[in-house]
């Protein structure tokens, strides 16, 4: 295919940071409304006018100097389904992210509780870092119903949900304790972007990722890293996101230079590195990092005979699963991956519970004002989970997992944990 070697004109170089002009993105819109009919929020909340309005229409109507962004932008959950819906490559989520950042910057009071609540949620990693210093204490406090009521009333963080427990040993602590990589290789190298959640809350996912890759002979690197930025984009905290992204891009670009590809276990993290970074930032190595980033399972499918390896396994100590494909997996074309890969395991059945959104969308469902909408969106998934035979959930996204547990009481696992159980003869932790 042809490659474009021309000196591409990049207007972003002359726009002040975070002030990109996305009006030309409206050129791709045909008004076909496929984005609207794919939006899980517009279906349950008519205060949200849908992605077509929020994206190409609002941008096209903009003149220089126009200040206000319609406040309904804060109702977008950043599930990014509209991106996958659009037949014409309108940069919908980029438009939403940019509009949201503009709204937060220009129209939201920096003294409001909402702003600080959003900032707190968006910077989950900071909160988690302190929380996991004394995990048992923090878990006890956050699980306290009085604390939850206070959070709800004064911060607008719903008391309907239980805070995810912090692990007694973080993934990075485990990694340091074991002395880092157990396999060395010159030509098979991956750098693991674990994100905050696998580090502080579900280190077993990180461990599974490491063990599976080591099983295939990969040298794994676990560099210093910050939050991928996903919750910050979703809350319009683009400055916070930019700081985190800059650090991540610089760190991982060095590893790419050393022959590493980047793998993620969280589909929102891989989404951020692959799509949102290039759309929102222009650090020197943004594009290069993006082009070398993969979902962990996807990476193995490309480079190893994962299907064959799994098909050769006789006996797996794992239950059947009700699988939910996260929206951010769907947007990367990974929606069919887990069921296709696990179909190689003869005695494990993986049932897809349908394509509806789980409704939590990261921090969205944690806000008191969104809780009901979040559960209304998730209702279809809950119903399908209940209809499915298996009573163990499976997904790649940590917040989807929260929502699945919240709505069904099923334990929820990660695809990598099942692969780990199959390939390394470990039983799946319950």
């Amino acid at each position: 295919m042809s490659t474009d070697n021309e000196d591409d004109f990049e207007p972003i170089q002359v726009f002040p940071e975070g002030d990109a002009d996305l009006r030309p993105g409206a050129d791709s819109c045909y008004k076909c409304s496929t984005c609207d009919s794919s939006c899980p929020v517009a279906e349950v909340d008519d205060e949200f006018p849908g992605p077509k309005f929020q994206g190409p229409e609002q941008w096209r109507l903009t003149r220089k100097g126009d200040q206000e962004i319609d406040d309904s932008i804060m109702k977008c959950s950043n599930c990014m389904r509209c991106d996958g819906a659009c037949p014409s490559d309108v940069p919908l989520s980029q438009m939403h992210n940019t509009a949201r950042a503009k709204y937060v910057e220009e129209s939201m009071s920096k003294l409001s509780v909402e702003y600080w609540r959003n900032r707190l949620l968006a910077n989950y990693g900071t909160m988690a870092r302190f929380g996991s210093m004394f995990p048992r204490l923090t878990n006890a406090v956050m699980g306290n119903s009085l604390v939850q009521t206070i959070n709800d009333r004064f911060l607008g963080i719903t008391s309907e949900r239980e805070f995810p427990a912090f692990a007694t040993e973080t993934f990075r602590e485990w990694w340091a304790d074991r002395g880092g990589a157990a396999v060395e290789s010159e030509d098979r190298r991956v750098a693991y972007f674990h994100g905050d959640y696998a580090n502080y809350n579900t280190p077993e996912v990180g461990k599974a990722m490491v063990r599976v890759f080591e099983h295939f002979g990969y040298e794994v690197a676990v560099p210093e890293q910050r939050c991928s930025g996903t919750p910050m984009f979703a809350n319009g905290m683009l400055d916070d996101a930019r700081r985190a992204a800059r650090f991540n891009v610089e760190t991982f670009a060095d590893l790419v230079d050393d022959g590493y590809d980047i793998v993620c276990s969280c589909t929102s993290c891989s989404m951020a590195l692959r799509q949102e970074y290039p759309e929102l930032f222009d650090f020197d190595d943004t594009e290069r990092v993006s082009a070398h980033t993969y979902d962990a399972v996807e990476y193995l499918r490309i480079h190893e005979d994962l299907d064959g390896a799994l098909a050769a396994v006789d006996d797996v100590d794992a239950p059947d699963f009700a699988y939910h494909a996260p929206c951010h997996a769907r947007n990367q074309g990974l929606d069919g991956q887990t069921t296709a890969v696990l179909s190689n395991l003869g005695d494990v059945e993986t049932q897809d519970v349908g394509e509806s959104c789980s409704g939590i969308s990261g921090t969205y469902g944690w806000k008191s004002e969104n809780y009901e909408t979040s559960m209304a969106i998730g209702e279809e998934m809950f119903e399908h989970m209940a209809d499915a035979e298996p009573e163990t959930g499976l997904t790649e996204c940590p917040t989807c997992a929260m929502q699945m547990e919240h709505g069904s009481d099923y334990p929820v696992k990660h695809t990598l944990q099942v692969i780990e159980a199959a390939l390394t003869d470990r039983s799946l932790p319950v």
Partner: protein
């Protein structure tokens, strides 16, 4: 590389039919689509052939006989259409109706349109039997002015047609159609208030038509509404009038096909485009000219920046026409963007369209040309790649929009491409 037997590119009607027919023949199928199905923009009616040379067609199978030799129907043969229709009927079961002759379905513009298959929820509204009809418009929905449509229909169809406009309770003016659908499905109160407003206006009508917003389970909504009309002393049949985008019946058909694809074990890879491919020389010993053609050895999917290679045995191209961007254009050329297949078109772009809005537009016929097996042909009429087939709107040669034939051509070419691809892939050879 990710291996697969049949790779279908494009998830609209043609791609779905191709994937399903291949999977039903036993092939392992992966379906890659870059965007949501354009079915979400379509009315949900399945036209086969409704207008030829300006005249309405009552018997499409008879009229097909008179089509020119280069019409896609003539190329792939009527048996392919029968095959596609049989598959469609099997998949949709009693959710779709229709026989061997076209029915005339009232539209929101007050016209009637010939179609061969229509949703069960549309069936009671078919024009021609002389029953008295009341059309209901929603005051916030500017697309369907029930009174205007009724006045136009009343002038042409047997039986009286009247219109009434009501306000949907407690919704913002810009609530999406999906919101209406959700409420009609889930809110008893909403349905009750609606019928309360309409029942006094029924005034002896036999049937009441709503814009098509009956949600995922139209039979349920119809039952509920009809029971309420009964209780209000105004017994009627309730039906849907199909709309333009965003189309609920179109979404329903898309969901139906998607569930069927999942059940058939097709791996779905959504939201990501195919951007590149590699060819290799074909089997030159085959002795058959078509088999001498090159083969598609691999195709590359762009997953949000990362290039993911697939190695398929057979490929079906069902990327759509100008709308789905399976065919693209610049000021001086029209082209097929993935394989650069030959797309016949006039040199001067002013010859691409006609002077009148409903003139004889060359652009409406843009697309690749195929042989009887569904294989795209080069400018020299030779098969382009021996393991590549094309289906749906990417195939040109006829203005299927004016002919009301687009769905039928998708069924016929999709079925042909899918069954042939399966026959030539590993399973059946083995």
């Amino acid at each position: 590389m990710i291996a697969t037997e049949v790779l279908v590119v494009g998830g609209g009607l043609a791609g779905s039919v191709a994937a399903l027919s291949a999977a039903r023949e036993g092939a392992q199928v992966t379906l890659v689509s870059k965007a949501e199905s354009t079915l979400k923009q379509a009315s949900g009616l399945v036209d086969v052939l409704g207008r030829v040379d300006g005249e309405l067609v009552a018997d499409p199978f008879d009229a097909i006989q008179g089509l020119p030799d280069d019409h896609p129907y003539s190329v792939v043969g009527v048996d392919a259409l029968h095959g596609g229709l049989a598959l469609f009927d099997d998949v949709t079961g009693d959710r779709y109706r229709g026989g061997d002759r076209n029915a005339l379905v009232p539209t929101t513009q007050g016209t009637v349109k010939p179609t061969l298959r229509y949703p069960g929820s549309v069936a009671p509204g078919i024009a021609g039997d002389g029953r008295e009809t009341l059309l209901v418009g929603i005051s916030t929905d500017p697309d369907f002015d029930a009174k205007r449509a009724a006045e136009s229909l009343d002038a042409t169809v047997p039986g009286d047609v009247r219109g009434v406009t009501v306000r949907f309770p407690r919704l913002r003016d810009d609530a999406k159609r999906t919101r209406h659908a959700k409420l009609l499905t889930e809110s008893e109160e909403f349905r009750a208030k609606l019928v309360e407003k309409i029942a006094p206006r029924v005034d002896g009508a036999d049937r009441v038509g709503f814009p098509a917003v009956f949600g995922e389970d139209p039979a349920f909504v119809r039952d509920e509404l009809e029971a309420r009309f009964d209780a209000a002393g105004a017994p009627v049949s309730v039906f849907e009038v199909p709309t333009g985008p965003p189309s609920i019946p179109g979404s329903r058909l898309r969901d139906l096909l998607r569930n069927e694809l999942e059940d058939a074990g097709v791996e779905l890879v959504t939201g990501v485009p195919v951007v590149d491919f590699e060819a290799e020389p074909g089997d030159t010993d085959a002795g058959d000219a078509a088999d001498d053609a090159d083969r598609v050895a691999s195709v590359v999917v762009d997953r949000n920046g990362a290039r993911v290679p697939y190695a398929p045995e057979q490929v079906v191209l069902a990327t759509g026409g100008l709308v789905g961007e399976g065919i693209d254009s610049e000021r001086d050329r029209v082209y097929e963007p993935i394989f650069d297949l030959h797309v016949p078109h006039p040199d001067d772009r002013y010859d691409w369209s006609a002077e009148g809005a409903f003139g004889d537009h060359a652009f409406a016929r843009f697309g690749v040309r195929i042989d009887a097996e569904g294989r795209p042909l080069g400018e020299n009429e030779a098969v382009a790649y021996e393991n590549l087939r094309a289906a749906g709107a990417v195939v040109g040669g006829a203005d299927t929009a004016m002919q009301k034939a687009a769905s039928g051509v998708s069924l016929a070419t999709g079925w042909r491409a899918g069954t042939r691809a399966a026959a030539e892939s590993g399973v059946n050879n083995a």
